[in-house]
């Protein structure tokens, strides 16, 4: 049971707040000798596994760290190209950590506005009259719950498929937004939310919702 992250999107589709609450760790670290028995390929400013799935390393996983030092996109911590570094037999044996690539803030902005349009298309394609946009998106690894307020702000919560009480949580987040962002005289509408009290109360609400469990008061 977990709540993975929270997104707040303004009525124009811009991301104004994002919080990663819990990220399951599924990284695999292994020591390799030359030659590397995986095919790596640069993709979107990072190095991903293209072929040779094994021992928990899957196609699509990115190189996250080499010899314990985090890589920076396609470059190692000391500025060398990852593919060149791994192509040189003198650098072996080498320990590489693979895992799912974490979203960068640019990607989060892009995904938030992408959901904004999917939400609108979802209501346009409705076979029934008067449908809202997407309220809940189900996948096998997470559920995305979305609540749109009357003023057009969207609150999105990514949670474990078994987590309950998300509808109540979304309304609680709206309340927190009204109380600690909107009532803050230094907050300007539609702009990124940078309010300490909003952060604190949101984290508290997430913890309460997680603890409430399937049959607790939050559900």
């Amino acid at each position: 049971m977990a709540i993975f992250s929270v997104y707040v999107v303004n009525k124009a589709g811009g991301l104004i707040y994002q919080l990663d609450h819990y990220a399951p760790r599924a990284d695999t670290e292994k020591t390799f000798s030359f030659p590397l028995d995986l095919v790596l390929r640069p993709h979107d400013e990072r190095v991903v596994v293209a072929f040779g799935q094994r021992d928990g390393i899957r196609v699509g996983h990115a190189v996250l760290a080499i010899n314990g030092a985090e890589v920076n996109g396609r470059f190692t911590a000391d500025g060398k190209d990852v593919l060149e570094f791994l192509g040189n037999p003198a650098n072996y044996p080498v320990s590489i950590r693979f895992g799912r690539h974490r979203l960068s803030s640019n990607e989060k902005l892009m995904l938030a506005s992408m959901f904004h349009s999917l939400f609108a298309i979802g209501s346009q394609l409705s076979p029934e009259v008067g449908s809202s946009g997407i309220e809940m998106l189900e996948t096998d690894t997470f559920k995305l719950h979305c609540f749109q307020t009357l003023t057009g702000i969207k609150f999105m919560v990514l949670a474990d498929p078994r987590q309950t009480g998300i509808d109540a949580l979304l309304r609680k987040i709206y309340e927190i937004y009204s109380d600690f962002a909107l009532k803050n005289p230094f907050y300007s509408l539609e702009m990124p939310i940078r309010c300490e009290l909003f952060d604190q109360n949101l984290k508290l609400a997430l913890e309460v919702a997680e603890k409430a469990g399937p049959f607790g008061p939050g559900s």
Partner: protein, 147 residues
């Protein structure tokens, strides 16, 4: 509980089959445009979900619902996409979609020498059997007039 409509797309985005049962609201746009919009949405949803997922996925996107309808989605390894729209009373139509793919589409279209691959389905038998299957589902039925 009711079933609104069904779309079958091939992997390139062409709509191979479309059928509707209880559809209250017309698309408001030409049908071809609606197919394109639907496929485009599924295509984007798929990549959206793959990027958002905190862990590795198996089936990917399964369903979504709005305040009025629920969209059930099944993608086969060959890239065929089946979409079934129902009302909110249907929790999961995955078995029904799997049945439509495995026992109807594969048997009557893929194995039919008169149906060219990746072309719109003309087979009358497929249409009839599919219609009979959908009508036999427990959640098929005209919705109550009050809701």
């Amino acid at each position: 509980m009711t079933i609104h409509n069904l779309y079958i797309f091939e992997r390139g985005g062409r709509c191979l089959f479309y059928s509707e049962w209880h559809r209250r609201r017309g698309p408001g746009i030409p049908q071809e445009e609606e197919f394109k919009l639907m496929f485009g949405m599924l295509f984007s949803l798929r990549s959206f979900v793959a990027k958002m997922s905190p862990t590795d996925m198996r089936d990917g996107f399964v369903a979504f619902h709005t305040s009025k309808y629920r969209l059930h989605y099944l993608e086969t390894p060959s890239g065929l996409r089946l979409v079934l729209n129902t009302d909110l009373g249907v929790p999961s139509a995955r078995e029904a979609l799997q049945h439509i793919y495995g026992n109807l589409f594969v048997e009557l279209v893929v194995k039919n020498p008169l149906c060219p691959p990746r072309a719109p389905v003309q087979s009358l038998l497929f249409r009839q059997r599919l219609d009979a299957f959908v009508r036999s589902l427990p959640y098929f039925g005209p919705r109550n007039p009050q809701n």
